[in-house]
Amino acid sequence: MTIHYDDIGINEDILLDLPMTEGIGTILHDVATPARLVTLVAAPTWTALASGLMTLNFDGATQYGQCLNANCADLKFTAGDYSILCAFNWASGGDDSAIIMGRYQLDVGGWELYLYTTGALTLRHHHAGTLVPLVTGNPRSAAYSMGWAYNTNWVMGLSRVGSDVVMYRNGEPLTMFASVGGVIDPEATTYDLVIGARFTKDDNFIKNMLYRPRIIGAALTAAQHKTAYELIKGWL
C-alpha cells in the first residue's frame, strides 16, 4: 500500500510545503505541486533534533529565507480562505517582533504572521489607505492568540475563514482576539515571500528553531489541524 502525498486531506489544496529534508545547503525544496525554491540567506544552521528530525535554526539577527515574488504570486490571498502550518521554538534576546513568514508590504498589501515578546502570535493583513471598513483609515486588520512561550516546541496552525481566523496550538483551537470587522482581504503586493524576517529583510528576525512551513489554499478544519499535529508531535 502506498500513501500518496496529494491524497492526504491536509495536502489537497497545498501551495507550499518545505519539509526541510535537505539537511544541508541554502535551498529549501517545496514538495507541493508548485515545487518552488526557497533560498536561505546568511546560512541558518541545519539542526537535527534528538529524534533525527531536521530543522533550521535562525540566529535572530541576519538569517532568513525568501522566495522571490515571481515564484510565489499565487500566495497573495487577496480573496478566499487559506491556512498556515509550521512548528517553531522561539527564543528571547532577538527582535521584539519576530516574523514567522509573510508576503507583504507594510500598510500597502499582503499578509504576515509574527510573534511578539508578549507571547502573541498575530496574523496581520495590510491594506492600502482607507480600504478597511469600520475603522476608516486603518491600514491593517489582524487577529491574534496568546500564550506562545519562549523555548518550547510549538506546532502552530491557523485557518483564515472569511473575516475570521482560528489559530491552533498543538492541535487545539485557541481563544482569538481580532480587529473590529475581523480580518479583511489584504491588498495585493509584489514583495517576496519571507520566512523569518521582515518584508524589507533587515529586521524582525526570528530566533531559534523553525520546522516545515506550509501554506494551504483552503481553510483546514479543526480535525485536520489535529491530524497535522498528531503526525508531527512524536518528532519534536
Binding site: 500500500m1 502506498t2 500513501i3 500518496h4 502525498y5 492526504i8 519539509p19 529534508t21 535537505e22 539537511g23 544541508i24 545547503g25 535551498i27 525544496h29 517545496d30 514538495v31 515545487a35 525554491l37 541545519w46 537535527a48 529524534s51 533525527g52 528530525l53 531536521m54 503526525l231 508531527i232 512524536g234 518528532w235
Partner: protein, 219 residues
C-alpha cells in the same frame, strides 16, 4: 385512569390526570401515556424532571446520559447495551491504535523539483543529507531536452553508510553528445544516512536540467 401510588414517593397516571397534592416533597409522577416524568419540590407543585442516567466508568469517571424509560427493567437493559457497546468500542479503539502505529510509520510518496543550470562544477540535483529515519528515495528523473550534441555531462549517485560518514560514490555515468531520450532516470536505493545525485558539465555549453526527485518519507 386513576392515579396509582406505586411506592411511597412514586406515582403513575395519565397526562390528563390532576397531579396529587400533599405528597412527600421529592416525589415523582410518571405520565404513562407520554412517558414524561414530573417531580415535586414542595409536595404540591410539579415540574418536569430532568432524568439522567449516570454511567460510571471503572476509573470513577462518569457521564450523565439524558433518557426516558418505561420501566426500571427497560432502563437497566438499555444501560447493559451501552456497557456492552463500550466494551466493543474499547476493542475497536485498540485495533485502530494498532493500525495507526503502522500507518504513522509508513512513508508518504512525495516528490520535489529543481532546475540545475550547469556551470562546470559538480552540482547537486537532489540531496537528503541526514534522513530522520530509514529513507526510501526512489528515483531522480532528469530532463535532458536542453542537452545538445556538443555537451558532455556526468551524473553521479552517492550514499553514506554511517552517520556523518563520507559520501560513497555508488554509480557514475557520463553522457557524451546527443542523448537519444528526453529524460534520464536514476533509480535510488533505500538509505539511512544520506543520499545525493549530482550533475557535472564536462564539456560544451551550460544548460538547464530540470530534475524531479521522487521518494517516500516519514512523517
Amino acid at each position: 385512569m386513576a392515579i396509582i401510588q406505586i411506592l411511597e414517593k412514586y406515582y403513575e397516571g395519565l397526562s390528563t390526570d390532576v397531579k396529587p397534592t400533599g405528597v412527600i416533597a421529592g416525589s415523582v409522577f410518571r405520565e404513562t401515556n407520554t412517558r414524561a416524568t414530573y417531580t415535586t419540590y414542595n409536595g404540591d407543585d410539579w415540574v418536569v424532571a430532568d432524568i439522567r442516567y449516570r454511567l460510571v466508568n471503572e476509573d470513577g469517571t462518569y457521564v450523565d446520559v439524558p433518557g426516558e424509560f418505561e420501566t426500571l427493567v427497560e432502563a437497566i437493559e438499555a444501560l447493559g447495551a451501552i456497557v456492552a457497546l463500550q466494551a466493543t468500542l474499547v476493542l475497536v479503539n485498540t485495533a485502530v491504535n494498532a493500525i495507526k502505529v503502522k500507518t504513522d510509520a509508513m512513508g508518504i510518496l512525495t516528490s520535489t523539483n529543481t532546475t540545475v543550470t550547469t556551470d562546470g562544477t559538480e552540482q547537486t540535483a537532489y540531496i537528503n543529507n541526514a534522513p530522520s529515519g530509514i529513507f526510501e528515495p526512489l528515483a531522480v528523473k532528469i530532463n535532458v531536452t536542453n542537452h545538445t550534441a556538443t555537451e558532455t555531462i556526468t551524473i553521479k549517485e552517492y550514499y553514506r553508510n554511517t552517520s556523518g560518514g563520507a559520501w560513497l560514490e555508488h554509480d557514475s555515468k557520463q553522457y557524451v553528445g546527443a542523448i537519444e531520450m528526453d529524460e534520464i532516470t536514476v533509480k535510488l536505493d533505500p538509505n539511512r544516512y544520506g543520499v545525493k545525485v549530482t550533475i557535472k558539465k564536462d564539456d560544451g555549453t551550460n544548460r538547464d536540467y530540470v530534475c524531479e526527485a521522487i521518494y517516500k518519507v516519514v512523517p
